[in-house]
């Protein structure tokens, strides 16, 4: 520990901190533009100048390491003059176009010039102008406003792992650009918009939409992938204007993926705002009571074994819970399923479908083995964390398949399932890598569970890990990247029907054994409709609604309160930021009302009762789960096969993204992208 003084306050800090961090610990705020906690130190904006005793010049506090006995002053005339001087230079070439700038109201430069700047400019010469740059469909540039803090360049190189941004030219001619103005090829690219302290990089889809002070801000949870990134949803009236990241060091740190951020315009398009009934292959508007009556008579006149329900990828746990109660209690049926593919599931123990090492745990890991996974597209934020861990620890990463650029180097095997057999028999170099590693991580992607040999791959590797003591209370090396935001929640609530891990409901559905199919926000089914009567409840007119006979308009994730469990098994609550459009209702309400009409009794009196019942259920499950041991499955048959990693249509993976214009543009820009060589 080092002792130093900041404005005559004595503090003790650890070695290796910078003066700026020490000042923050002492409660003194230092203005800054280029410094950012998550990025390397550049020290080029000079805004953080402070006075240090015995130094004739002011020092850049962000780049100066603390030393014993330093005496830092930040409130002297000397510092004030330095800050004013720096601010004057920064503003010399900055256009004062705040009234037409999208950053206005939340601009670091604007705020800090109010605090530390002077009221008029002495600069009489012409300001420089810099041509706009093309950075793809998400980032709008106005490079005249750039103050060359290079945060975006450092983000692209360090966090995103796509060194495509750079500063070209020198002095007054310096410009920030992508290589030959191609769009940035990263799923994290739009984070540079948040990082930019001025209005040089702003959000293209959000351009001239609203001012920050007009927006209602709701802190909630993202559902675009299973990570459960913490987000803030900004709404203006009904419309969701934008989505911003919220800091959660355990999950998404400060970043969110482009899909999380920009799929939100899909909440405005293709919405179902009133109930529909299909007559003669044409949808006609109907009232709630009409559709409820039809559903009631249909359900009552059908054998309960001929009814099935399939839940969707974005559904919150409250809805899932009501849905399950509806099927179990009101209908007396067990035919509910949340998997839309023939994926293998062993839900004996919760650890079998969780990312057990946790996202934070990645940073402590010393060996990572990816099986059938492309984390870059399956879980973008998680991939960024692996990259961060790699840069810190340089641990070895091996993937069973070659899945292209993951932004960090890895060794790839040829994908043969025989390799798994070799590893578990101890006949492969990876066996020793796993056993010698203190905290190995075995990460299963969804492609594993979709393959024919899913059972073999998963169970043999799991028993191998248990045998080698890699699954214990201190460290659990078994990690599964879940498919969707609702996957873990559905499994926790028991929305699956299986004996041997296969998807029985889907099998029966494909053999046309059901007469009534209730799709709850499920749009990813690949099945040919015959005589089934399909009820679709959801927010968007997509594949599910297309095949439906009755459509019940529900709410999207920003329009209702509800719980989601992320891939680590963390229960998080998403809050209502907007309300469902038109006659649409919150999903739990629809099912609750339907139950009332069927049985003259509501399942739950109100949302509170539902919430407390749900959380009880989950707590009970976790308690039970902790008592259980892993079940032993010794079936080591497998067919010779090369495991394929399924192509993921990243920008088109769910109904909201499919309804989004921005995602469509992203997809196109990806297709039109010419390979530059930086990709690997």
């Amino acid at each position: 520990m080092l002792k130093l003084k900041v404005n005559n306050i004595e503090i003790e800090v650890e070695e290796g901190l910078t003066v700026l961090q020490a000042c923050e610990k002492a409660g003194v705020e230092i203005p800054r533009f280029c410094y950012h906690e998550k990025l390397s130190i550049a020290g080029n904006c000079r805004m953080c100048l402070v006075e240090m005793e015995k130094s004739p010049k002011p020092i850049a506090s962000c780049a100066m390491p603390v030393a014993e006995g330093m005496n830092i002053k930040t409130n002297t005339k000397f510092v004030e003059k330095a800050r004013k001087g720096v601010m004057e230079f920064l503003l010399a070439n900055h256009p004062l176009d705040c009234p037409v700038c999208d950053q206005g109201g939340e601009c670091d430069l604007q705020d800090q010039s109010m605090f530390y700047g002077i009221d008029k400019s002495r600069y009489k010469e012409n300001k420089r102008s810099v041509p706009e740059k093309n950075m793809g469909p998400l980032i709008k540039t106005q490079m005249t406003r750039c103050i060359h803090c290079t945060r975006c360049v450092r983000f692209a190189t360090e966090v995103a792992g796509v060194p495509e941004l750079g500063a070209i030219g020198r002095g007054e001619d310096m410009q920030i650009t992508t290589y030959l103005e191609q769009s940035m090829q990263s799923e994290l690219s739009a984070n540079v918009v948040d990082l930019c302290p001025v209005g040089a990089l702003t959000s293209k889809p959000y351009v001239f939409e609203a001012r920050p002070w007009e927006l209602k801000k709701t802190e909630t949870i993202d559902v675009m992938d299973a990570i459960g990134s913490n987000i803030r949803v900004d709404t203006y009236g009904w419309e969701v204007k934008r989505v911003l990241p919220r800091i959660n060091e355990d999950i998404n740190e400060e970043w969110i993926s482009d899909k999380t951020r920009y799929a939100c315009d899909g909440l405005l398009n293709q919405r179902l705002d009133t109930p529909y009934i299909k007559y003669n292959k044409k949808f006609e508007k109907a009232s709630w009571s009409e559709v409820y009556e039809i559903i009631k008579s249909k359900l009552q006149n059908t054998d309960k074994e001929k009814i099935c329900g399939i839940t969707g990828d974005l559904t919150n746990m409250d809805t899932l819970y009501v849905f399950k109660e509806f099927f179990n209690k009101t209908l007396g049926s067990n035919n509910i399923e949340s998997r839309s593919d023939h994926t293998y599931l062993n839900a004996d123990k919760r650890e079998n479908y969780l990312f057990n090492s946790s996202i934070n745990g990645i940073e402590n890991s010393d060996f990572i083995f990816l099986i059938g996974s492309n984390p870059r597209y399956e879980a973008t934020i998680l991939n960024a964390r692996i990259r961060k861990a790699y840069l810190q620890n340089r641990m070895q990463i091996v993937s069973l398949n070659d899945v292209g650029d993951l932004t960090y180097p890895y060794k790839s095997l040829n994908g043969e399932i025989q390799k798994i057999k070799d590893i578990t028999d101890g006949n492969h170099e990876i066996s020793s890598l796993i056993t010698n590693a203190k905290r190995p991580m075995i990460i299963f992607g969804q492609s594993v569970f979709k393959s024919h040999n899913a059972r073999f791959i998963f169970e043999t590797l799991k028993s191998y890990l248990i045998k080698k003591g890699k699954i214990s209370n201190e460290w659990n090396s078994l990690n599964i990247i879940s498919d969707n935001a609702s996957t873990v929640g559905s499994f926790d609530l028991g929305i699956y029907k299986t004996n041997d891990g296969s998807n029985e409901v889907l099998k029966n559905l494909e053999n046309h054994k059901y007469e009534i199919v209730y799709l709850l926000g499920q749009d990813n089914l690949k099945f040919e409709k015959q005589n089934e009567f399909i009820i679709y409840q959801g927010s968007h007119g997509d594949k599910g609604a297309e095949i439906a006979d009755i459509i019940l308009p529900g709410a999207a994730y920003t329009e209702q309160n509800g719980y989601y469990t992320n891939l680590e098994g963390k229960l998080q609550k998403a809050y209502k930021a907007s309300y469902p459009p038109g006659d649409a209702k919150e999903d739990w309400q629809i099912i609750n009302e339907l139950a009332e009409i069927m049985n003259h009794r509501k399942l739950f009196n109100d949302k509170e009762e539902l919430d407390s019942s749900l959380t009880n259920q989950i707590n009970l499950l976790i308690e039970k789960n902790n008592m259980k041991d892993f079940s032993q499955i010794d079936n080591t048959d497998f067919t010779k096969e090369i495991l394929k990693v399924n192509h993921i249509d990243y920008y088109y993976s769910n109904v909201i993204a499919r309804a989004s214009k921005t995602m469509f543009e992203c997809k196109n820009s990806k297709i039109n992208f010419k390979s530059t060589g930086t990709e690997g």
């Binding site: 190189t157 060194p163 495509e164 941004l165 750079g166 500063a167 070209i168 030219g169 020198r170 001619d173 992508t178 290589y179 030959l180 530059t676 060589g677 930086t678």
Partner: protein, 202 residues
């Protein structure tokens, strides 16, 4: 025409010839393994020399792959330093020093000669596309002012007529003799030594 931004008509391909390759390998060997990126500046210069005094984008890509570094990093370096030309300057690249000592000794006469013989403006190719000129800051040969540099050679103690002659030769494809054009050896005093006469090897 600016030499600081990539030229419009870029060649499709660039590759080091055997001489350049040898020179590049020599440079890379100087750096520890894994730090070969440090050679980027020298390699850009080698590429510039091989490609008639300018660096096309293809060369930057080639060097980036050669040193396994991102394109943008090479691009940054190439656009930062003023001695890398990013647009064609001709096989003979004439740089006229116009800093104070040369200016006082008549550097602008040399500039006039260049304007007459090569092109009206700086950084503009001559009619035969083989030559261009530009004003530069001090080239460190003030003792022999005024002077100009053509590719790697210095031509010193010039006036307008001598410059015209040199340029004539260059434009007709010959290589004029470098050095002083008033018969001096290096920068010895004119009309013999006047000081330190008693020191033998001074």
């Amino acid at each position: 025409m600016s030499l600081r931004r990539p030229y419009k008509n870029q060649p499709e391909k660039f590759e080091f010839n055997s001489d350049s390759l040898k020179a590049a390998q020599l440079i890379i060997e100087k750096y520890p393994k894994g730090k070969q990126q440090s050679a980027v500046m020298a390699l850009l210069y080698i590429a510039q020399k091989q490609n008639d005094n300018w660096i096309p984008l293809a060369a930057m890509k080639y060097i980036a792959k050669f040193l396994s570094m991102p394109y943008i990093k090479v691009y940054e370096v190439a656009t930062f330093y003023t001695m890398y030309n990013l647009a064609p300057v001709g096989k003979y690249f004439v740089q006229v020093c116009t800093t104070t000592p040369c200016m006082i000794r008549g550097a602008y006469n040399l500039v006039e000669a260049c304007k007459e013989k090569i092109s009206e403006n700086e950084n503009e190719l001559s009619k035969n596309k083989e030559c261009s000129w530009m004003e530069v800051e001090c080239l460190g040969a003030c003792v022999n002012a005024p002077m100009l540099q053509i590719n790697d050679d210095y031509y010193e103690d010039l006036d307008k007529e001598k410059t015209l002659k040199i340029l004539d030769e260059i434009l007709s494809g010959k290589k004029p003799k470098p050095g002083s054009y008033r018969g001096r050896l290096n920068n010895e005093p004119e009309n013999n030594r006047k000081t330190l006469l008693d020191v033998k090897n001074a």
